[in-house]
């Protein structure tokens, strides 16, 4: 049986992420945080029917601009992360990284180990 193909999406401000359309990604342009939040919840929870007839997530990875990702609440993440997919990954915008991405990795270490051992 052929493998299911999943889609990729990116959420951010139009002038920055427009370039990703050329790569064939699903580009979702938003203007403010409220819009971004609405879109990510919609994309992250959208299901399609897989090859085997089972329902599965439509998107495997959703990239989201850091400035929006850091304002998502814990409850939002809980909804998004219910299953193995999709992976919601914050990426820095043109302003450069705000450190949110690394802070997220740090938080994972804290969660797993109980303290931050990388310092």
């Amino acid at each position: 049986m052929e493998n299911d193909l999943y889609k990729l999406a990116i959420i951010g401000t139009k002038d920055q992420i427009l370039g990703f359309t050329a790569l064939g990604m699903m580009v979702v342009a938003v203007n403010n945080f409220e819009e971004a939040r609405e879109k990510i919840l919609k994309l992250a929870l959208s299901n399609v029917e897989g090859n085997g007839g089972e329902t599965r997530r439509e998107y495997a990875i959703i990239f989201i601009m850091e400035e929006y990702a850091e304002r998502l609440t814990k409850d939002d993440y809980k909804k998004i992360n219910k299953e193995a997919l999709p992976a919601v990954i914050p990426i820095p915008g043109i302003k450069g990284t705000s450190g949110h991405g690394l802070a997220r990795v740090k938080k994972m270490v804290e969660q797993a180990v109980g303290s931050d051992i990388f310092g």
Binding site: D4, G19, L23, I91, V105
Partner: protein
């Protein structure tokens, strides 16, 4: 000392002892699972940190290129140029099972040409910017993969750690205390039964002796 609320009977004692055995076995298993998860997690998270730093740098340059390129073109032109991409990306996803955590593995499928527009009205900078995006993409996917894996493992590790601690510091001591309590209560009951029997026996013997004395004095 925290003991459970049970009747101090032999039946309960047996049950509790069985429970302790199960809890100990579960505790050992969970601890092994925790160790396994932790090992895998550390492996992944280390590479996640390095890769993220690298990707963030590259991505920033790519964005800069793109914004610069788009500044040199009319916005309508830019949008037109990018409107109909011939390139397609999709992902093959396989889930792997690590210590009963399902973690995803991504494989990138790309087809088509990313520079799908007329060269007349677009700038060379745009080509370069798009190529930069193209180069970052596989790394982005890889980053997404390991970060998601790390995330899933972190969740599971935390859960397992809580369970191990709950068993080790709550359930097992409580069970042990209760077993101790019951066995003390039982042996106390046993001793009190023995002394009771001894007392009854003594008083019976006393009675018998008195009666024997009476009989003797009557006979005399």
């Amino acid at each position: 000392m925290a003991k459970l609320n049970v009747n101090p009977t032999r039946m309960e004692l047996l049950n509790l002892k069985k429970q302790i055995k199960t809890a100990q076995r579960g505790h050992k298993l969970l601890r092994d699972k925790q160790d396994g998860l932790m090992q895998k997690f550390m492996e992944i998270v280390r590479s996640a940190r390095d890769l993220r730093k690298e990707v963030e740098e590259q991505l920033q340059t790519a964005f800069k290129n793109f914004v610069q390129a788009s500044a040199m073109m009319y916005p309508e032109m830019l949008e037109n140029a990018l409107l109909y991409p011939s390139a397609k990306v999709s992902l093959d996803v396989e889930t792997k099972n690590v210590m009963s955590v399902r973690i995803p593995n991504f494989k990138l499928n790309q087809e088509g040409n990313i520079l799908n527009y007329g060269y007349l009205q677009t700038s060379g900078e745009l080509d370069m910017a798009l190529e930069a995006f193209q180069q970052v993409l596989p790394k982005l996917i890889q980053l997404a993969e390991i970060e998601r894996q790390a995330e899933r493992l972190a969740e599971e590790t935390e859960k397992t750690r809580r369970r191990v601690n709950a068993l080790e510091h709550m359930l097992l001591p409580n069970l042990k205390d209760t077993v101790k309590f019951i066995s003390m209560k039982l042996s106390e009951a046993e001793r009190s039964a023995t002394t009771g029997v001894m007392r009854i026996k003594a008083s019976l013997e006393e009675q018998a002796r008195e009666e024997a004395l009476k009989e003797a004095s009557k006979a005399v």
